[in-house]
Amino acid sequence: MSSRARLLMFAVAALAIGVFFAVACTELPRFGGSAHPYGYRVVAAALDHRTANVVSSVNFDVRAFDTLGEESILFTTVLGATLLLRLARDERQVAAASEDVLPTTRLFGAVLLPISLVVGVYIIAHGQLSPGGGFQGGVILATGLHLGYLAADYRVLQRVRPLAALDVADSLAAASFTAMGLAGLAAGGAFLRNVLPLGTFNTITSGGMVPLFNAAVGIEVASGVIVLLAHFLDQAVETTGPRE
């Protein structure tokens, strides 16, 4: 298909989507309005389960089954990237060269690496109390580790990330989410049902299972993102194909 015909087809389709979408928008509830029937119910459910952060309560209590699926997507992505980016027959692995960095960059990395790790753990641990949780804290932990790559070089990053252990941690964290769900079933309730005491509102032990789910997801996201980035960095730094 010529690019002109392609553009013409797109113009027709875009016009149709645009018109129907605009008409549908006029039927939506008014922007900024106060009618949020599900919102009301979920706030009541979160307060009932003594979880101060309602978004965490939605993700790990009301919609925990959904989050299990989301967590499986993350797990299979890491698996898929590992498969796609493995060393092909005609490729060789070469050791990364040592790089020079500015002393100020090195200082910046050395100061911020421990801070970002502490912030990541804090965000995961306080997911039921303040904005944040397993997904957000896990990403902070994973990116914090890559300060080693920015402020030193690739060989330093390889020393601070035990990839084999992280692979296992990723799988164990993914499995533990299901195992905790089965605990609800074993206790005579339903899959992913809360079986722990709810604790005191607005303390770190409140929310029943929510902090545990947060921790499992935090470990999975952190190790998953590190493994994922490791495969991409390997491609850029260490792998040479037949053409190069």
């Binding site: 645009g18 919609r63 959904d66």
Partner: protein, 115 residues
């Protein structure tokens, strides 16, 4: 603001689709897909917004003292972001393999099948 926030989401989607249709580079197309996905964030957050509302976090907020924005759509956006990031990662990995096997990242140059 009336209906404009919803329409902005539709506009972002159409701009991203235009980018994907005219793209001559798969990395660029993946960027456009990420933009298309961000239109869903705009739509979801526009649905959940409430005038004079605050964040649905009760760590320093008396329950019932202020109106809250809808926490459900916020949780949906969180899911959306995670899925978007993972899809982008897989597509980028596929693009790396394409570049290795076919020597090009131009989708219009990829015509024949190759074992």
């Amino acid at each position: 603001m009336g209906v404009w926030p919803y329409l902005a989401a539709g506009w972002i989607l159409l701009v991203a689709l235009y980018g994907m249709v005219t793209s001559r580079n798969l990395i660029h197309a993946i960027g456009c897909l990420a933009v298309a996905q961000s239109s869903t964030y705009v739509l979801l957050l526009a649905v959940g917004y409430r005038d004079h509302g605050t964040a649905p976090v009760f760590s320093d907020l008396e329950p019932g003292s202020r109106p809250l924005v809808d926490p459900i759509v916020q949780a949906l956006v969180l899911t959306d972001i995670v899925v978007g990031a993972t899809v982008t990662a897989l597509l980028l990995a596929l693009t790396i393999q394409l570049r290795k096997r076919h020597g090009t990242v131009d989708p219009q140059a990829l015509t024949g099948l190759k074992g």
